[in-house]
Symmetry: C2
């Protein structure tokens, strides 16, 4: 059974999420993603993804019965729409070149029915990048991280090692000075190729298993 | 007061989110973002962002007192780490060129202390792109959407109009056939410039207000 996503429109009111999780919990259904915000029209929008919920007709009816709930709408999960995410961190010139390689390669896979997203933030500084790496563990659907800079080690390498203990994440680094190349799964000199290989490494439509490579530096 | 993010590690167990929202609701604190997943080690990770929670020492103590909770950690909000997001949808060659313009420009702003992310998915097809546009309303921190294709209208234009009623979102379109250019805030012929202008339009460190422009086609 696939995951199902629902959007619940509510009156803006503290506690309404609690009312809703009460109901979902009673159905023994797991919530795998939630996102809440206030719309321009002051309605609250609560977006939930439910794991293998089966027939949710009666669940939706129970949620609609709450006083503060205006509507409930069902749609596909974000995983099915935006797919796996490759995240790119690093300095300007290189981060855009890695992105170009990755986007061009993702286009070739997505046109055959896959869904791969390429998400970037240009960032410099050991503290800034290591904080961004740590926070990856709070983002959904991340499959690979590409580090696109000219000097990375220290706290950044520590943060990468830390994230790897919690997540199955492929780490690709440009070839550069600093400890990051010691702990990356793959080290690539050409930024375009680094982006292409990141997509190849996570794509279902590619025959490329980085665990089977005899060397990891190109 | 800034938002505060907490990560709660729990035993994997349906209903634990409900126990936690019960407690937060009792403190009259609003949850603006939530993300949940199971780690490699089978612990559950619940990531919450709390709106202006004030001193949360006693809230954290109450959450820690739950049987299924292993740890609670406090950190900065994703807004402060990854900042505003520009989302780019469209076909390969153009989507990567828009991204290159946007990433290069975002690098220039981020180096002065801003945080702007550039997130892309290469996608073709009216159904596919309109579904991706609709789903934007379920993503956090989206400030601008750039449509990078050569023919977009119909359902895509409808989806864009729909998302605009719910969110304050700047819409930039490449110059192309199809109804999308009629409802975009800005129509740009050069994909690099479209990416640069998307960043200028949302950046705090730029003097560029698209609402003040006398024409919207370049």
């Amino acid at each position: 059974m696939p995951n199902i996503a629902i959007t619940i429109k509510t009156e803006e009111k503290i506690g309404v999420l609690d009312d809703i999780t009460n109901i979902i919990s009673a159905y023994d259904i797991n919530i795998s993603y939630a996102h809440l915000f206030i719309e321009k029209n002051d309605l609250g929008s609560i977006n939930l993804e439910l794991e293998n919920p089966g027939n949710i007709g009666s669940l939706i009816k129970d949620i609609l019965a709450l006083d503060s709930v205006k509507s409930v709408e069902k749609h596909g999960a974000l995983e099915d729409i935006y797919g796996k995410r490759i995240i790119i961190f690093g300095g300007g010139a290189q981060v855009s070149q890695v992105a170009m390689g990755a986007i061009t390669e993702a286009d070739r896979h997505n046109i055959r029915g896959e869904r791969i997203s390429i998400d970037t933030i240009p960032l410099v500084g050991e503290d800034e990048i290591s904080e961004a790496v740590e926070a990856l563990s709070r983002l959904p659907r991340v499959s690979a991280l590409v580090l696109a800079g000219s000097l990375m080690g220290g706290e950044i390498a520590k943060a990468v090692a830390n994230v790897k203990t919690e997540h199955d994440l492929i780490i690709i680094s440009l070839n550069m000075p600093g400890g990051i190349t010691k702990i990356a799964d793959l080290v690539v000199s050409d930024p375009i190729q680094a982006g292409v290989m990141a997509v190849m490494a996570i794509a279902d439509t590619a025959i490329f298993d980085i665990k089977k490579l005899k060397e990891n530096k190109f």
